[in-house]
């Protein structure tokens, strides 16, 4: 009977109940969409970082990771790449030469990171060819073949600058500019380049400082004294088939690095470890426990994109915190909305509630009835809100939310301009449960107010 009375009570004031139901639906929908959108934003940052910059796994000289100094490079890169490509999880591997230098144009000077790349490898790794927004007419037909750095008629080597940089330094296609950097021997090198194209990855921080040149050209000038300059690089970027296999593949790759890397660090002799060198040949010997605390002497170390860019984790946790704060605010608004309505429902029924207690309804039964009324509202609204949230996320998860009108802002975060919200099934359940408990919480005060009534006073109410 209590169940029946509570159910009928909520329909006594149909409009009011529908307003509360509407508020809960909007609350649930908003929370779901917000969480989905935040997840989509974080994913966009991750995807943008992977597609434009990091790939899934990168291999470096371990010292390079700490200091970003060009002298910490990888030797015998062909063998390393061959080893990497043997791993069945790897779908693409490419090398890069990375040097810090200065860009000197007619309008100014700027610090840049010079990326020596193989356009064919980059086409698969970062789809760089598709991110070139403007290309010199004479080589535009070479974009498809990823040969945009090759122009036989051209005397100077080619360079790609970002749209951001082009706008800042007033650089245009066909302009000439110079790059200055220090080569492996510490000698200053200055090279002339011709701008053959302007790119835009959508990853603001990357675009701000990066220029792309052909790796062969850069290697010839950076590793100038090496027997085979093209057999060296600073980075191997790797894409794997399934992003979930990143950690396993990274661990496997670390075990598959050339033989000296297979040596357990605890079996190394301390005096053979040459700090700061790019190539360490360390014979396996037993050493004392103290010596085993020396830095890991691998010559090449594979790391996942998360390890390389801790800012991804930072973005994730920041997004989680801000999402939680907003969820808290929405829930708080919901609580007060429900309290307000239920309190009205209680206050306008004082006489009736008094009568119920007069004829023998216990206070806990009155309490239960008010809570039940609120729960009904929640039980009607929550599934509708969840359904609408699911539909919205399904739609925008397919077609995306276009943030191109805020492009400069989103690029600063390293996000793509189109966000695809997504949500795990568990989150729907969690939100539904949270709203359920929010409704219970909101019902407590009006229900408490109801049981504080003295029947005689309540009946006296007009």
């Amino acid at each position: 009977m209590l169940i029946k009375i509570a159910w009928r009570n909520i329909w006594r004031s149909r409009t009011r109940s529908l307003v509360v139901i509407g508020a809960i639906i909007i609350g649930v929908w908003a929370v779901l969409f917000l969480v989905g959108f935040s997840t989509g934003m974080v994913n966009s940052i991750i995807v943008s970082s992977i597609e434009n910059e990091l790939s899934h796994i990168q291999i470096h000289n371990p010292h390079f990771l700490k200091d970003k100094e060009a002298k910490y490079y990888l030797k015998d890169i062909d063998q390393l790449v061959a080893t990497v490509e043997q791993n069945p999880a790897v779908v693409q591997a490419g090398t890069r030469t990375l040097i810090s230098g200065m860009l000197i144009s007619a309008r100014g000077v700027d610090g840049v990171q010079i990326r020596g790349v193989d356009p064919k490898a980059e086409a698969s790794l970062t789809q760089l060819d598709k991110k070139i927004v403007q290309l010199q007419d004479s080589i535009s037909d070479k974009r498809q073949k990823s040969q945009y750095f090759t122009d036989k008629k051209q005397r100077l080597p080619s360079i790609l600058v970002s749209k951001n940089m082009a706008e800042r330094l007033k650089i245009k296609v066909r302009h000439k500019l110079r790059l200055r950097f220090r080569n492996i021997d510490g000698k200053d090198v200055e090279m002339g380049f011709k701008v053959v194209g302007i790119y835009q990855t959508g990853n603001g921080p990357l675009d701000k400082v990066t220029v792309f040149v052909e790796q062969k050209t850069l290697n010839a000038n950076f590793f100038s004294d090496a027997v085979d300059p093209n057999n060296q690089a600073h980075e191997i970027a790797i894409l794997v088939k399934d992003i979930d296999d990143v950690d396993t593949t990274r661990s496997l790759l670390n075990m598959q690095m050339p033989e000296q890397c297979l040596v357990d660090p605890t079996t190394l002799l301390a005096d053979t470890v040459q700090q700061g060198d790019s190539m360490l040949i360390i014979p396996p010997k037993t050493i004392s426990k103290k010596d085993s605390l020396l830095p890991h002497p691998f010559i090449a170390k594979a790391e996942t994109f998360r390890e390389i860019s801790p800012s991804i984790n930072l973005h994730e946790s920041q997004m989680e915190v801000s999402t939680n704060i907003i969820i808290f605010i929405v829930m708080l608004a919901l609580i007060f909305g429900i309290i307000n309505t239920m309190l009205m429902a209680v206050l306008e029924r004082l006489r009736e509630l008094g009568m119920l207690m007069a004829v023998g309804m216990k206070r806990r039964q009155v309490f239960g009835m008010i809570v039940l009324e609120t729960l009904y509202l929640g039980m009607i609204a929550t599934p509708i809100g969840v359904f609408l949230g699911w539909i919205t996320i399904l739609y925008f998860g397919t077609f995306g939310v276009d943030l191109s009108s805020y492009s400069s802002g989103v690029q600063q975060f390293g996000m793509g301009e189109i966000i695809y919200p997504e949500l795990e099934f568990n989150t729907y359940i969690q939100v539904a449960i949270s709203v359920f408990f929010t409704a219970v919480l909101a019902a407590l005060y009006p229900a408490y107010k109801a049981i504080r009534l003295r029947p005689v006073e309540a009946i006296r109410q007009l």
Partner: protein
């Protein structure tokens, strides 16, 4: 006079009720001594503000007196906790209010069943009792109507049926005919008189209504919270 036996079932001794004792004290009841015997059909009368409703509420355990004691069926109700008092009311006292106070979302049948449900009665027992009561108040054909679909007189008859559903020892009726026309009043009083006789239920009314006073077998008159007269007819 009383019907089957003359056993005293309600005793009030020196019942006093003072509202606002710390600010402007209002003595609603001032030392009321009363004995009511089983099966009586009693009207408590008096001018407005004489304490009729206050006395009825005190007897029904809805309000606690400032001083004095009330014993019902041998139980001093001052000793009962709030929870026990609710239970006591549910099993022993039926209420009929001036404004009917039915549950608007329930049908006549459900309203009558409600108290029995709180008592934990079985469905079959509830069904037969509800039918019997609604038929005896002449509403056998209105069982599935909600209060809004009934006239004032019909609603008050449902309220009487509800008050009797739990088979109480007493029915306390606060101005039950105040909102009814003459025909409905006569009809209601007939029903209550019959139930009083048939089920030996003690009826206590607070009323202004001469029609009720005429039908009562005992009339207690209150003036300024005191018993002014107590007459058996």
């Amino acid at each position: 006079m009383s019907n089957n036996n003359n056993k005293t079932v309600i005793t009030t001794k020196g019942v006093t009720k003072v509202y606002n004792p710390k600010t402007i004290p209002v003595h609603a009841l001032d030392g009321v001594d009363l004995e009511i015997k089983a099966g009586e059909f009693t009207a408590i009368v008096g001018p407005s503000g004489s304490g009729k409703t206050t006395l009825l509420n005190a007897i029904g355990g809805l309000d606690r007196p400032t001083e004095g004691s009330i014993e019902i069926a041998g139980v001093d109700i001052a000793t009962l906790s709030d929870g026990k008092m609710i239970e006591f009311r549910r099993n022993n006292i039926g209420f009929v209010f001036q404004a009917y106070n039915l549950i608007p979302v329930l049908t006549a049948k459900e309203n009558v069943e409600f108290v029995m449900l709180l008592q934990g009665k079985k469905k079959a027992a509830m069904d037969s009792r509800t039918k019997e009561l609604l038929e005896s108040v002449g509403l056998g054909d209105k069982m599935n109507n909600r209060p809004a679909q009934l006239s004032g007189g019909q609603q008050q008859r449902v309220a009487v049926a509800r008050a009797l559903a739990s088979k109480p020892q007493f029915v306390l009726a606060d101005e039950p005919t105040a909102n009814l026309d003459s025909k409905s009043t006569a009809n209601l009083l007939d029903i209550m008189a019959r139930l009083n006789k048939e089920e030996n239920i003690t009826f206590i009314f607070s009323t202004h209504d001469q029609r009720v006073i005429d039908r009562a077998r005992r009339v207690v008159t209150l003036v300024d919270g005191k018993v002014f007269s107590d007459e058996y007819k």
